[in-house]
Symmetry: C2
Subunit: 538 residues, 2 copies
């Protein structure tokens, strides 16, 4: 008996692979499937709005399609830039077809989400997805009912029509029927939206459940929006041999000097020349002439060369300190919020920015550890916290250095944005370990922690001052009475000069200032540098 | 400006998708890439040997291909069933082409590993993979140098030749050159092999590093091998609409009665009839005649029907209590090992078996928590322990109930085998949460923990007995002397009867038995049921 009799080989289409292994993309059980579906649809909607500076309005309606079979219908609508009519079938019906395979910050990153939703619906209820979309300024609204030919990885158009766009609507609306457990998924979906709102306070959400009065509205808190990311070129340090080969194939005759300038981020004439000297190649040599060994040497040198510019951050769209503070203030209702947006950094040629917020007191419940909210490209990460680098870093910090004694009402928000978030799985819940990112997270958390220490220290000092003032005033009153008796001077006049004397000695400008704590938030920034001296060394 | 001007859509080939997102498959950095490469090659080798009851002999040779560029060459060779010559290009050069898309227990599960190795090598060193393979009883050895056309997802044959198979060799040998950090990866690779040996003591491994004397040999400890798994049919409870549609397309004219018997696990004539009554369909109706609504109803009823047989365990290949004990004893060198192989169970129609071993004392270092070794389909899971269900379950157990006081020399080994391990990512490190599996893990760990309690209890009792015996013997000696003096009887005779009397009163059959503890392992099994009464309720 030969090997070919006992082992059978076969090819799967990408659609079939992901149908069989849907756990990889987060569709591991009926509860998780509902959560994952809503999450994928919301993220597509946000990518179609905020990325183009449209303040997002997102509606999600949940209904029972057939309660006895636990069929749930999910409707999601946005006011985004829409999808061109002819692209709709492929965008929903072909795995590995997407607009997200670009160097630019997206919430969606694998371009898989919408197809997974269609695959899951099809496998559980065999119903098509309904898609209605109008691009910006489109005269028509395009409507499709779609399924996927899983064996061929091709869209199947079940029905199709074009509707006149009378009111100039633009956006995308989707309706899908799938098997799932809404009751169990509800809490997680709500938590997901609450956290999304924290980093996108310029968006509004309506989530309506199967019961009429089961409606959650998350209003728009600000009209400020972060600048959208631009689309970028690969950074010379992030390349691999395969990418260079693909770029050469496009035009093998272009001189290597121009090849560098045209295809890579931040490469101008001076840097290109310097680099070619470093490798020892002639600038006018056609790039297609590179032999295999030279090609590998070329790539190795690209990664070794130290004079490239830093990766550009224009491809990124951080939330910004103000918007982040507004979002956190609205969702967590703390006594005080400190935020920081760090400078851009990079790993393997991919730019990234870390932002952190620290919220303290107010409506935050005291707990034994800081509560953590993690975000990557503005997407909240809800599962797998135990394994995350952020949890690890926050737990390693000695919080007593920052005057925090647990249980304490302390929440830490960390947002990482990058053109390439190193997710450990297509379910997008955990970030793979990257030392450069870990460093930046540590620095960001320390930076807001220092602001907290300053705040707590001042608050303690001011409490002390207030106490002193109260005691001095009490004795002052005795003195006023005695002096007035001896000198016959006016009682009120005496009291006012004594009080002025006390304020002067205690260096209190105005009593109201002290009582309302206004001074604290006002000048915290100016004190950061001085404060850094006390930073515990790492 | 319309939408199509600002958004570009594109299709990626499966190869391009995984090249760009290699983190998903575990290739997240140069250290991890080396580890993942060796792991994928070893697992393919084990699938090609043990699954066909060939005792595996696996050789791995590591070398520097170019030390200044951190290029590592990895050579892996096995004595498995080989790959038919004409299949070699696709098996290594086409993503989503594999022999592992079958209902049967494999170590490899996504059929992705070998292609990821080729993609990674190609992207970092642009060198082809060298494959040499001879199927069982093949007259020829087939040799290929292969790369992948990433844009087309097709193999590129760089060179090819056929060699006469003079010595009747069979197996597969692979050589690949990739960028990586061997020094950092080494420890993890060794730990991986050590753990693999724990559950496959019938395999032998040689790992040779770049230095001549840097060789690790893990010998074969037993020639006993578990029965290989058979290939199965889907269980009627595990189906989805899409699968039924695919099966119908193969032959729409077959009567629905035969359709059920032919395509599903454990469906005989009686059960098929009962089920068709339950759905209300005629047995002779051609299955292709099912309308869409009927089809969905059919699938829903398949999942609801309660009289299907349990999924079969023949598709599984557990390690078995004896072989597992041998492996654990060899690798951990404990004082004692207890093992259990639970009965087959199932989730969503997928059969699975949980096995556990508990090792105590000996060379195990005492620690504050039990040390855990996790395995899925005989693959050690090394990363992500913090999030794993096994860690959670072991930590929830109140070990004082089992007479364990920490720090204690306690190691727990858990092996889950299934036709479908619900991995949370293609990197195969964490298992998604499935309640049925969690229950079985809990029961398995408790079962071995009860054996440990019995062992510790007996050991304590025997210590006590030994102490009593020592004391009685001491006083006995006084009595013997006094009696001998009074009665003039023979001293030795008296001593022997007194000692016999002591042994009888203490119910000690033989002193040697007590001293060597032999009695304990001998009859532990008989006492399990009685012992269960004291089980803390969950």
């Amino acid at each position: 008996m030969g090997t070919s009799d006992i082992v059978k080989f076969e090819a799967l289409s990408p659609a079939e692979f992901f149908r069989r292994n849907r756990e990889i993309a987060g569709f591991s059980n009926p509860t998780r499937a509902i959560y994952q579906t809503i999450r994928e649809l919301v993220e597509n909607s946000l990518d179609a709005t905020e990325t183009f500076k449209i303040p997002p309005s997102i509606k999600i309606y949940i209904d029972y399609a057939n309660q006895s079979k636990s069929w749930i219908s999910i409707y999601a609508e946005d006011n985004g830039i829409g999808i061109p009519g002819n692209e709709i079938p492929n965008v929903f019906g072909r795995v590995f077809y997407s607009s997200k395979y670009r160097i630019k910050q997206h919430r969606g990153i694998f371009g898989l989400g919408a197809k997974m939703v269609v695959l899951y619906a099809q496998s559980t209820t065999n119903t098509p997805i309904l898609v209605r979309s109008a691009p910006l300024k489109s005269d028509a609204i395009y409507e499709y009912q779609l399924m996927i030919d899983i064996t061929k990885n091709e869209p199947v158009i079940v029905s199709q029509r074009t509707i006149e766009n009378k009111h100039g609507w633009h956006g995308t609306a989707i309706k899908v029927v799938l098997e799932g457990d809404w009751i169990k998924a509800k809490r997680r979906v709500e938590e997901y939206l609450r956290r999304t709102a924290m980093v996108a306070p310029y968006a509004e959400f309506i989530l309506r459940g199967p019961d009429e009065d089961d409606v959650i509205k998350i209003p728009r808190v600000t009209t400020k929006m972060p600048d959208p990311p631009k689309e970028g070129l690969p950074h010379p340090k992030s390349v691999d041999v395969e990418l260079i080969k693909q770029l050469i194939q496009r035009d093998p005759n272009v001189p290597i000097f121009e090849f560098l300038i045209e295809n890579f981020d931040g490469v101008g004439e001076i840097i290109a020349k310097k680099f070619l000297d470093f490798v020892g190649l002639q600038p006018d040599m056609p790039v297609g002439k590179l032999m295999n060994d030279e090609l590998i040497n070329f790539v190795t040198k690209m990664r070794e060369f130290n004079e490239w510019k830093r990766p550009r951050a224009d491809w990124l769209s951080p939330i910004g300190e103000d918007i982040l503070a507004e979002g956190v203030r609205f969702v967590l209702r703390p006594e005080v919020v400190f935020t920081v947006t760090r400078k851009p950094s990079s790993y393997m040629g991919n730019p990234f920015i870390v932002e952190a917020a620290l919220a303290w007191g107010g409506a935050i419940e005291p707990s034994d550890k800081p509560t953590i909210y993690r975000f990557a490209n503005k997407v909240p990460l809800i599962y797998d916290e135990g394994n995350d680098i952020v949890r690890k870093i926050v737990d390693e910090i000695d919080w007593t250095q920052y005057r925090v004694k647990f249980p304490a009402p302390l929440a830490i928000v960390v947002h990482i944005c990058s053109t390439k978030i190193p997710y450990a799985s297509a379910g997008k819940e955990a970030i793979a370990e990257v030392p450069e990112i870990e460093n930046e997270v540590r620095n960001a958390v320390r930076e807001v922690a220092r602001k907290l220490r300053l705040y707590i220290t001042r608050k303690e000092k001011e409490q002390e001052l207030l106490m002193k003032y109260a005691i001095f005033s009490m004795y002052g009153e005795e003195v006023v009475n005695a002096l007035s008796y001896v000198s016959k001077a006016d009682l009120d006049e005496l009291r006012s000069s004594i009080n002025a004397l006390i304020r002067e000695k205690l260096r209190i400008k105005s009593l109201e200032d002290l009582l309302t704590n206004h001074s604290i938030e006002g000048d915290e920034d100016g004190n950061n540098n001085e404060d850094q001296k006390h930073e515990p060394s790492s």
